[in-house]
C-alpha cells in the first residue's frame, strides 16, 4: 500500500471531487464535509510520502507499470523537495477549505457543489504538477490547475472579476502554450518526455544544440508568465483581488509558488545546473530582473490603498526573491529559494485569510478602514501580526530564515544588488505593516472625517470572526512559527535532495559562486 502513496494522494482528491459533484446535486450540505475529508486524507498521505522519502530516498512510481524502457509510460518522481512542496499544497488546501465553511452557510445556490468540485480539482492539479516526472504530463496538470483557477476567479461577485479572469486566461494560455512549445522543442531533439531521460540526452548533446537553448527560454518565459515574474505580472493583481475570498486564499499562495517550483525543477532535474549555469550567460540578467521585480513590487505595494491589492504586489516582490535566489548559482541561494516557496505559501495564506476575515466581518477593503481592529478583533489581529512579522522578516518566523539564507547566498556569490534589494524590500514591508498596525491600534486621527459614516454603520456590528475562519488563520500563523523554528531540519532535507541527485552537485553551485 505504501508504495502506492504517490497516486493515492491524487486519487483521494479526484474521488473527493467526483463524490462532491455527484452527491452535491442531491444535497449540497455534504459538499463541505466531503471536501474537508478528502483534503485531510491528502494531507495524511503527503505526510506519509514525506516520511517515506526521508527514510527510503527518492520514490519513482511508474503509472501503469511501464518501467522497462524508461519513458514509454509516465513516471512520478518524488524527492524531498517535491515531498515538502506537496505537503505545503495539501495543507494550504485543507486550511482554505475549512475557511470556506462560512461560504456554505451564506451561499445557498447550486454553485456550492460546483465550487468544491473545481476547488478539489485545483488542489489535485497542483499536487500532480509537483510530483510528476514527465514533462508533458506536467503540462496537462498545469492546464487542470489553470482552468480551475480561471473558473474560480471568474465566479467572483465583482463586476470586474470577469475581465480580470479574461486577461488571466489570455496570459495563462500564452504561458502554457510557451511551455508546451518548449517541451516540443525538447522532444524534437531528445526524443523523450521523461525528465530524467531528457537530462541524460542533454548531457549527451554536450550543450551544443541551439534547440535546447530555445526550449529552455520558451519554458522559462512560459513559467514566468505563470508565476507573475516582473514584466509579465500584469494579470495578477486584478485576478487575485476581485475573486471570492476563499478562492484568493488558495490561488494566491499556491499558483505562483508552484510556478517557481516547476522552474527550479526544470533547472535542477531536466536541464541540470551544469548546463543551466555554464551554457547560459543569462543567469546574471535574471538576477538583475529579480532585483527590479523586488523593488518594483515593493514600491507598487506602497502605493496601494486596498489591502488585497497591496498583498498582490507583495507577491510580485516575493516571486522576485525566489527567482533571484534560484539564479544566483549558489548553494545557499537555491536552498533559500526552495525554503522560501514553503514559507511564502504560508505567509501569503495568512495575509489573505486575514484580509478575507476583515472583508467579511467589517467590510474592510481599504487599509485606512482597519482602525481599531486590535480592539474589535483581537484574535484575528494576532494571527495577522504573526504573518506580517514573517513578511518583514523578524525571528523566529520562517520569513526571517528564508531571507537569511537568500542573503547569505547573495553575499557568497557577490550579488550585492540583490542583497540590497532584499533589505530595501524588508524595510518597505516593515513600513507597510507598521502603518497598518498603527491604524489598527491607535485608530485614525479624528481630523480625518471622511471615513466617518462607514465607522458609524459598521462599528456596532463588528465582532470577532467565527471558529471556522479563525482556525485556519491561527493554524497558518502557527505553521509560520514552526517552519521558522525547525528551519535547520527543513534545510537539511532540501540539501539532501540537492546533493543526492546526480544532477546537482554542491561543488558546481558553490564553485560557480566563488567566481561570480
Amino acid at each position: 500500500m505504501a508504495e502506492q502513496y504517490p497516486i493515492i494522494v491524487l486519487l483521494v482528491l479526484l474521488f473527493g471531487a467526483l463524490l462532491v459533484g455527484l452527491s452535491g446535486m442531491v444535497d449540497r450540505r455534504v459538499c463541505f464535509p466531503l471536501a474537508v475529508t478528502a483534503l485531510s486524507l491528502a494531507v495524511v498521505v503527503s505526510v506519509g510520502i514525506l516520511q517515506q522519502v526521508i527514510n527510503g530516498g527518492v520514490i519513482r512510481y511508474f503509472v501503469g507499470g511501464w518501467s522497462r524502457p524508461v519513458g514509454i509510460g509516465i513516471e512520478l518522481r518524488i524527492d524531498t523537495i517535491n515531498a515538502l512542496v506537496l505537503l505545503t499544497i495539501t495543507t494550504v488546501g485543507l486550511l482554505t477549505a475549512i475557511f470556506s465553511f462560512r461560504r456554505v452557510q451564506e451561499d445557498k445556490t447550486e454553485k456550492t457543489p460546483l465550487f468544491y468540485v473545481l476547488y478539489l480539482l485545483l488542489i489535485m492539479g497542483l499536487s500532480g504538477m509537483v510530483i510528476s516526472g514527465d514533462a508533458f504530463n506536467l503540462y496537462v496538470l498545469l492546464e487542470v490547475s489553470s482552468l480551475t483557477s480561471y473558473a474560480l476567479i471568474a465566479m467572483g461577485k465583482s463586476r470586474r472579476a470577469a475581465t480580470a479572469a479574461f486577461s488571466y486566461i489570455i496570459m495563462g494560455t500564452i504561458g502554457a502554450s510557451f511551455y508546451l512549445l518548449g517541451v516540443g522543442y525538447l522532444y524534437l531533439r531528445t526524443g523523450t518526455l521523461n525528465m530524467m531521460e531528457i537530462h541524460q540526452a542533454i548531457l549527451a548533446l554536450d550543450g551544443s544544440s541551439s534547440t535546447i537553448v530555445v526550449a529552455f527560454v520558451l519554458i522559462l518565459v512560459g513559467l514566468m508568465i505563470k508565476m507573475a515574474f516582473f514584466p509579465l505580472f500584469g494579470w495578477l493583481p486584478n485576478a487575485y483581488s476581485y475573486c471570492p475570498s476563499s478562492t484568493s486564499c488558495v490561488v494566491a499562495p499556491l499558483m505562483t509558488k508552484v510556478g517557481v517550483y516547476v522552474m527550479i525543477r526544470m533547472m535542477l532535474t531536466v536541464f541540470g545546473t551544469e548546463w543551466v549555469f555554464e551554457n547560459l550567460q543569462y543567469a546574471q540578467w535574471l538576477v538583475g530582473m529579480a532585483i527590479v521585480a523586488i523593488l518594483a513590487g515593493s514600491v507598487m505595494a506602497l502605493a496601494q490603498v486596498e489591502l488585497k491589492k497591496m498583498f498582490c504586489y507583495l507577491i510580485v516582490a516575493e516571486v522576485g526573491y525566489m527567482v533571484g535566489g534560484a539564479w544566483m548559482a549558489n548553494h545557499w541561494g537555491m536552498v533559500g529559494a526552495i525554503y522560501h516557496i514553503m514559507s511564502d505559501a504560508f505567509m501569503t495564506l495568512c495575509m489573505f485569510l486575514a484580509a478575507g476575515i476583515f472583508l467579511k466581518q467589517a467590510g474592510v477593503v481599504r487599509i485606512d478602514q482597519l482602525d481599531g481592529m486590535f480592539r474589535k478583533m483581537p484574535v484575528t489581529m494576532a494571527g495577522f501580526v504573526v504573518g506580517a512579522l514573517a513578511m518583514i522578516g523578524i525571528p523566529p518566523t520562517c520569513g526571517f530564515f528564508s531571507k537569511l539564507y537568500l542573503i547569505r547566498g547573495g553575499m557568497e556569490s557577490g550579488h550585492w544588488g540583490y542583497v540590497v534589494a532584499l533589505l530595501i524590500s524588508s524595510l518597505v514591508n516593515a513600513v507597510l505593516f507598521f502603518r497598518i498596525f498603527e491604524i489598527a491600534y491607535f485608530g485614525k486621527k479624528p481630523a480625518e472625517g471622511h471615513g466617518h459614516h462607514e465607522n458609524h454603520s459598521t462599528v456596532s456590528v463588528i465582532k470577532e470572526a467565527n471558529v471556522s475562519s479563525l482556525v485556519p488563520l491561527l493554524a497558518s500563523a502557527a505553521i509560520i512559527v514552526l517552519l521558522g523554528i525547525f528551519n535547520s531540519d527543513i534545510v537539511e532535507l532540501i540539501e539532501r535532495a540537492l546533493n543526492g541527485s546526480q544532477v546537482i552537485g554542491m561543488n558546481v553551485l558553490s564553485g560557480k559562486g566563488g567566481q561570480g
Binding site: Q4, Y61, G64, T109, L114, L121, V214, V217, L218
Partner: protein, 257 residues
C-alpha cells in the same frame, strides 16, 4: 500598443526560428524524436503488449493513460467551469422552476418545420450509431472515446439546434448530463483503482485478467482500453452538450439560440 506587440511577436518568431538549422529535416525517419527508443517501442511492441493495431489508441489509453485520465478531467472541468461562471446568483434549479409559458408555443410555431424535423429524425440515429462505431472501432481505425464522444454530443446539439433548446433539455436535462459527465470519469478511474486493489500500479490493466479467467494479460489490456474509452465518451458527449446548452442560453438553459 500595436508596435510593442508587433516587436514582441517578431522577437518571439525570430527566437523560434533561430534553432531551425538544428532541427531535423521534414520527413526525416531518423530524427531524434522519430528514431528514439520510446517511439520505436510503441511501434514494435504494441501488438505484443495488448494486440491493438492502432498505436495511437494504445499509447493514449494504455502507455500514457495517466495523461488521458487527466485529459478527461480537463473536459469535465470545462463543463463545470462554464456552468459555474454563467449561472447567476440564487437561481432555482431547473426541476423546481415553473415551466416557461411561451416555450411550447414557440416550439410549435418556429421549430416544427417539416424539412428540418424529418432531416433531424433521419440524421440523429445515424449520428449516434456512427458515434458508437467510432468509439468501439478505435482499436483498429482512427477513432476512440474523444472522437466518438464528440460525435455523440453533436447529435444532441443537432436536436437542440433543430427543435430548440427546451425540447432537447427535456430529453437530456441538466441533472442527467452532469451525472453522465461525472460517471465517465468514475468509469475511467475505476479501471485504475481496480488495478490498484489487485496489487499492481495504477492503470496497469494487465492484472485485470484475473477477473475474467478466459483472457490473458494482453487481452485484458485491450478490453480495458475499450472500457476507459467508453468512460471518456460518456464525459465528452455530456460536456459537449453542456457547453452548447449553457453558452447558447447564457447559462439560463431556456430558449437557446
Amino acid at each position: 500598443m500595436k508596435w510593442v506587440g508587433l516587436i514582441a511577436v517578431l522577437f518571439t518568431g525570430g527566437l523560434l526560428l533561430s534553432a531551425m538549422d538544428d532541427f531535423p529535416n521534414w520527413g526525416d525517419a531518423h530524427s531524434p524524436a522519430n528514431a528514439s527508443p520510446v517511439s520505436q517501442y510503441f511501434i514494435e511492441k504494441t501488438i505484443e503488449d495488448s494486440g491493438v493495431p492502432n498505436m495511437v489508441t494504445a499509447v493514449l489509453a494504455d502507455y500514457r493513460s495517466y495523461d488521458t485520465m487527466f485529459e478527461t478531467v480537463v473536459v469535465l472541468i470545462a463543463g463545470i467551469a462554464i456552468m459555474a461562471i454563467l449561472r447567476v446568483g440564487n437561481q432555482i434549479p431547473r426541476g423546481a422552476r415553473p415551466a416557461p409559458v411561451s416555450a411550447p408555443a414557440s416550439v410549435n410555431d418556429d421549430h416544427q418545420d417539416i424539412i428540418i424535423g424529418t432531416t433531424c429524425r433521419l440524421l440523429i440515429p445515424v449520428l449516434q450509431l456512427f458515434a458508437f462505431y467510432v468509439i468501439a472501432h478505435g482499436h483498429h481505425s482512427p477513432g476512440g472515446g474523444f472522437q466518438g464522444g464528440v460525435v455523440l454530443g453533436t447529435s444532441f446539439i443537432l436536436a437542440a439546434i433543430a427543435k430548440g433548446l427546451d425540447p432537447a433539455l427535456e430529453r437530456l436535462p441538466e441533472t442527467r448530463y452532469v451525472k453522465i459527465a461525472f460517471v465517465g470519469v468514475v468509469i475511467y478511474s475505476a479501471f485504475g483503482v481496480a488495478c490498484l486493489l489487485l496489487g499492481e500500479n495504477f492503470l496497469d490493466y494487465g492484472v485485470l485478467s484475473v477477473l475474467l479467467p478466459t483472457i490473458d494479460a494482453a487481452e485484458a489490456r485491450s478490453h480495458s482500453m475499450l472500457g476507459v474509452e467508453v468512460g471518456v465518451a460518456f464525459t465528452v458527449s455530456a460536456i459537449m452538450f453542456a457547453i452548447y446548452a449553457n453558452l447558447a442560453s447564457k447559462g439560463e438553459l431556456e430558449g437557446g439560440l
